[in-house]
Symmetry: C2
Subunit: 211 residues, 2 copies
């Protein structure tokens, strides 16, 4: 998704993986394989090694095991999500508009690359990782939205479902449900995601109406 082309050659000489460069290539390649395949376990140590042009044991010089590799990939993918959200929020009027932009970006991110979304929110790697109390990857997004809504409340905005935080969590559950079910039950006759949940989202943040 970042720098490696179809052929991994067009890079600075690459004197056989020096100075963490190989590590970067591994994460790049794994992230790409993941987004393409859409399956956490189609990304095998061996397939990544193959695509990078190296033997499997080499990966173990940079990652203790496969979970560690996937965690590194996940961190990169969460950065992508945060970047997408920030972009979609650029030039938003007020805090409520920022939250609405976040909601749309979240849906677009998830539905745009189901494999990527599944690793981040339904993968087997993360539940093990986020035991350290509340240190859930991607939590920054939640806190940012809660902050925006809090600001809106202080500006006089009414939230029908409770305080800023409760509303954010409710939003998250609804948005995740919309993405996750569409990904996992593709045979169901879904309507457009935003047409479906948009009105409810708007109601939750206190600005009912269409758009």
């Amino acid at each position: 998704m970042t720098s490696t082309g179809p052929d991994g050659q067009r890079r600075r000489r690459a004197r056989r993986g020096q100075g963490g460069e190989l590590r970067e290539r591994i994460v790049d390649t794994a992230a790409t394989l993941l987004a393409e395949s859409g399956d956490e376990q189609a990304v095998s140590i061996r397939s990544v090694a193959d695509a990078v042009g190296v033997t499997p044991p080499s990966l173990y010089l940079h990652f203790p095991d496969k979970s560690a590799l996937l965690r590194a990939v996940v961190e990169r993918l969460f950065s992508d999500l945060e970047r997408d959200v920030a972009r979609s929020q650029a030039g938003s009027g007020g805090p409520v508009e920022r939250v609405l932009a976040l909601a749309r970006a979240y849906l677009a991110f998830g539905l745009g690359s189901p494999g990527r979304y599944k690793v981040l929110y339904e993968g087997r790697v993360l539940p093990a990782l986020d035991l350290p109390d509340g240190g859930v990857p991607g939590r920054a997004l939640i806190e940012a939205a809660a902050g925006d809504l809090q600001e809106a409340v202080q500006g006089g905005q009414h939230l029908p479902a409770g305080d800023a935080r409760a509303t954010t969590i409710l939003l998250w559950q609804l948005l995740h449900g919309a993405v996750s079910l569409r990904i996992n039950k593709p045979g169901f006759p879904w309507r457009d995601a935003w047409a479906d949940v948009g009105p409810a989202v708007r109601t939750l943040v206190g600005v009912p109406g269409q758009g």
Copy 2:
């Protein structure tokens, strides 16, 4: 979950798997392994065969491949879900109460056995299976809820989020989001699921208030 004890012996003589009896034992065992492990792929052909007391190739006499086995398991698990829901609805007053009971039962089913829920709603087996137009396993539940809400509407009930069907789908997305995030992000400081989404659910079905 059904009949096989820790030792598979206490069954009718079992003259070496005759008349589809072995098939039943395989599905039983796989379902149990799944609920215990909570991981779709901890259930391996070999581990199931072992637990049943037979060699791996024997399973292929009853199922063309692993997906087919898991599909059979999934059908059984959906029956379990429908049974749980029906029980929780027993003696419900009106159609709205039936939907509220369904919502609570859905949350309890999902949070009560995360591994089971993940196979049904996030597994890799089903998306491939439910391509036949709308023939999603578990859809019966949705249609039943939509029917109940439709009945409520005809009885004069007002649904603030749209018609009976749209409301049902919205409910589903919210409930799934509540279950799925709690399962997949256990490190997050979640509140009790019903306390969290209950008020929104009640609002959606047109009976705001607590309970």
